[in-house]
């Protein structure tokens, strides 16, 4: 009965969403305040219904109700409860339900947290969100119902979840990612509402800024978590593969980063208004496109959501309606009046513009590389675009972005004297150059791209630190820092995060030491500055798998690599263990066979560290030897790999800080005190008042 209730709740939610997408919007045109006010309760009820529905599906998984087709194909009674829970979103239907749940959550959040929003604007925003809800609810109900049942005969047990997904990473990765993906729908809804209302001014930017930042922070975390998961779970130590599905989440991130920055310029200075609206549409379009690419199966990807042309067609249709519609609306109503706000080449506006162009081009680059195989297929060529393409493009774009960032961070609105900008540039460039020489030297080898990477990481850090010092020069560093606003701190965290991430990427890409060797228990191998001995092999048994667990001891062998290279494995081991050397640590990689699906899984053994990871994973057993079996073993030394995710955490933290800025909360209260009906924005003195005038629709000239 409970699955049926869940299904019913889903249908009810669709009805409520239809009302939400029509009634408040109609109210704004017919000027019926009551209809407009209905948006809030409708949004909340919609969220509650989806929560019920999701709870029903979760119940089916936790109680092993395999009469539900979706549960039977993605769960198994042997799995521990937390994996049963995360298996709810382990397949297409459930993850789509999670998607809709999060969408309804964002919708309800906008309804509840935006009391101070002008009623009309709020009604429009919520109606637009309602429409997106309708689209996805239709999608789920028509093509991907997770509550379908086997009747009357149901399987006695489920088919098990893909073992790759039986992991902590999967419990958290999709929800975070979807929080980000779906969160951009709010910025999109604000943009569309502004276009519909013909009122495209700085208010719009101010309202959608915090929402965009939160969504961006979630997306950052989600992507980083996915990268981390791939790193330890796929067993080959890669952290980014330029797989179409990864690209699908990376494109909105790039566009969202651009949006976040251009919103700042629009809010503060009233510039780039049309562009910002387009960017909001573009970002959300990329989110939808990502969904389409992942779920239609038209692209070859390692992320398997089985192909279903019916589903693909539906998402494509939705994509057409949502994006096509909003771009048409944009073409018809976006302001073409030139804003009469001046800024010079060396102003912050200019650098933000550069930031936007670079990020936009970067997202187009990824889009192009992802879609190129599709276009080629059109001409009957079967091609794939490999990582080298993306790597080359980003090796070119990232330095540009970082250099613009360095100048932008130290520039001021309107204009900055070039003398002031250039003043420290030489020093920063010199410091960065020294870093770019010393750090690769420490690693023992010079690579051009590694040097560039270190240079720009240092450059961004220098500019950021220099800006902090500038800001706090009158109060002392610590006191001054404490007195800066949270949104400023957020920006600093974000930029430092980027520097940390670039540093990690540059170093780990060039100085990873990898060796694939054949080892039997009792043998040893050398890689980098380490000696690894294969101690023993044991059988292990988990709740739903059996496996082989190896034990490796890792010893330090600094600088002796060359001398040891000629020795036999046994001699190597004798040399170290025989002399009573203590191992640095022990690693236990595993090879698991999941019983129900009989699929193999590699569980890597990782010794993590701030400056390096040692990563050992088992390949396959190599023939059955006389005494003990040899295995293919992958040994890796990965310097600074953690910095990638550390950088992402910094960035997300920065996003969180920026949103919690008092500015947002304070202004909100002031506005309530004033007049709730009017978008009472006070033009800051340096903004041309014309910016704030409502733009009449169709003002062509």
């Amino acid at each position: 009965m409970i699955p049926e209730a869940g299904h019913f709740a889903l249908i009810l939610a669709l009805c409520v969403s239809v009302l939400l997408s029509l009634v408040p919007l109609a109210g704004t045109y017919l000027k019926v305040p009551l209809w407009q006010q209905s948006a809030r309760p409708l949004a909340v009820v919609n969220g509650a219904l989806l929560l019920l529905s999701f709870a029903a599906l979760t119940h089916a998984f936790l109680t092993d109700d395999f009469s539900v087709v979706y549960a039977a194909s993605h769960s198994n009674s042997l799995m521990p409860w937390y994996f049963k829970f995360s298996a709810v979103w382990g397949g297409h239907e459930g993850s789509l339900l999670l998607w809709v749940l999060i969408l309804s959550f964002w919708t309800a959040a906008v309804a509840l947290l935006s009391r101070q929003l002008p009623l009309e604007l709020k009604a429009r925003v919520l109606s637009v969100l309602g429409m997106i809800n309708v689209g996805f609810l239709l999608f789920i109900l028509l093509t991907s119902n997770p509550f379908e049942r086997y009747l009357p005969n149901s399987p006695t047990d489920g088919a098990d979840l893909n073992p790759l997904l039986q992991d902590f990473g999967l419990i958290v990765h999709p929800p975070l990612l979807y929080m980000g993906y779906v969160g951009f729908s709010v910025a999109f809804a604000f943009a569309i509402a502004a276009l519909l209302g013909g009122r495209l001014d700085a208010t719009w930017a101010r309202w959608s800024r915090p929402w965009t930042t939160v969504a961006w922070a979630f997306l950052t975390l989600g992507i980083a978590l996915g990268s981390w998961w791939a790193y330890y779970e796929l067993g080959w130590g890669g952290w980014w593969f330029w797989d179409p599905v990864e690209n699908a989440s990376f494109m909105p991130w790039l566009a969202g980063t651009a949006l976040m920055h251009s919103l700042a310029a629009t809010e503060k200075r009233g510039v780039f208004k049309s562009w910002t609206v387009l960017l909001a549409i573009f970002t959300f379009s990329l989110c939808l496109l990502g969904t389409f690419l992942v779920r239609s199966g038209i692209l070859t990807s390692v992320h398997a959501f089985a192909n279903d042309p019916e589903r693909g067609r539906f998402v494509l249709m939705m994509l057409g309606v949502v994006i096509g519609g909003s771009l048409l609306l944009y073409a018809l109503r976006a302001p073409v009046i030139k804003s009469r706000v001046h800024f010079t080449e060396t102003s912050r506006e200019s650098f933000l513009l550069a930031n936007n162009i670079i990020l936009f081009v970067a997202s187009l680059t990824v889009l192009g590389g992802t879609l190129f195989p599709l276009a080629a297929e059109f001409y009957d060529y079967e091609v794939s675009v490999g990582a080298p393409y993306f790597n080359l493009m980003f090796a070119f774009l990232t330095p540009l972005l970082a250099i613009a960032l360095g100048f932008g961070a130290r520039s001021r609105w309107k204009t900055t004297s070039s003398a002031r900008l250039l003043d420290k540039t030489v020093i920063h460039a010199a410091i960065s150059f020294v870093a770019a020489v010393i750090i690769p030297w420490l690693y023992g080898e010079f690579f051009f791209l590694a040097m560039v990477g270190v240079f720009i990481a240092a450059w961004v850090s220098c500019a950021t630190v220099s800006d902090i010092r500038e800001k706090t020069r009158n109060k002392g560093l610590w006191r001054g820092w404490q007195q800066t606003s949270r949104s400023y701190k957020g920006m600093i965290f974000g930029h430092i995060g980027l520097a940390v991430m670039i540093m990690g990427a540059a170093i780990v890409s060039h100085y990873t030491v990898e060796r694939n060797v054949r080892l039997a228990p009792g043998e040893a191998a050398v890689f980098g500055d380490f000696l690894v001995t294969f101690d023993r092999m044991e059988k292990v048994r988990g709740p739903n798998y059996i496996g082989d667990a190896a034990t490796f001891d890792v010893f330090p062998a600094p600088g002796e690599t060359a001398a040891l290279a000629g020795l036999s494995p046994a001699a190597l081991k004798m040399k170290y263990v025989g002399e009573g050397a203590e191992p640095l640590f022990e690693l236990k990689p595993e090879k698991r066979r999941y019983v129900v699906s009989s699929s193999l899984m590699t569980e890597a053994g990782i010794n993590p560290g701030l400056f390096r990871d040692i990563y050992i994973s088992l390949g396959e057993p190599l023939g059955s030897g006389e005494k003990e079996q040899a295995w293919a073993v992958r040994l890796q030394y990965k310097p600074l790999v953690r910095w990638l995710w550390l950088g992402a955490i910094f960035m997300a933290l920065g996003g969180g800080l920026a949103v919690s800025d008092r500015r947002y909360r304070l202004k909100i209260r002031q506005r309530i005190d004033r007049s709730p009906g009017e978008p009472a924005i006070t033009p800051s003195s340096d903004v041309d008042a014309s910016v704030l005038k409502p733009i009449a629709p169709r003002s062509g000239a």
Binding site: T300, V361, G369, V383, S384, L600, M601, G623
Partner: protein, 152 residues
Amino acid sequence: MNPKRKQRLMAVGLIVFGVSSAIGLAAYALRSNIDLFFNPSQIATGEAPLAKRIRIGGMVVEDSVRRDPESLQVQFALTDYKNTVTVSYTGILPDLFKEGQGIVTSGELNGAGVFEATEVLAKHDENYMPPNVQRALDKAHESGAPTEDGSL
């Protein structure tokens, strides 16, 4: 020049420069980094270039996997049910690599007709047939390429 014009000119110049250099670079990067995809029949008929990085897809033939006992070298046959090609690879195969499984591999074809793979890709889900492998198989069928023994 008045500042407004100058500013606009600067913006347009920046955009044009940024976008065109990116397109140029992208075109260059694409040209040297695309891997064309072939099926075993196309390799048998000599359609695939030698000593150029390409991808092939097909099914791993049952009982064809041969391992060198002393190293990580492994050899297997890849088929589209019309023709097979021998693939040689040194390294660790992915977990989902299995005989009778559809895989995609990239590398170069050498003069002896052996495909020297640098990368072997199997998919996350074993019930999932990579679309390009599927198409490779279907194309081999449609094209009516002769099988090894000459029959159709």
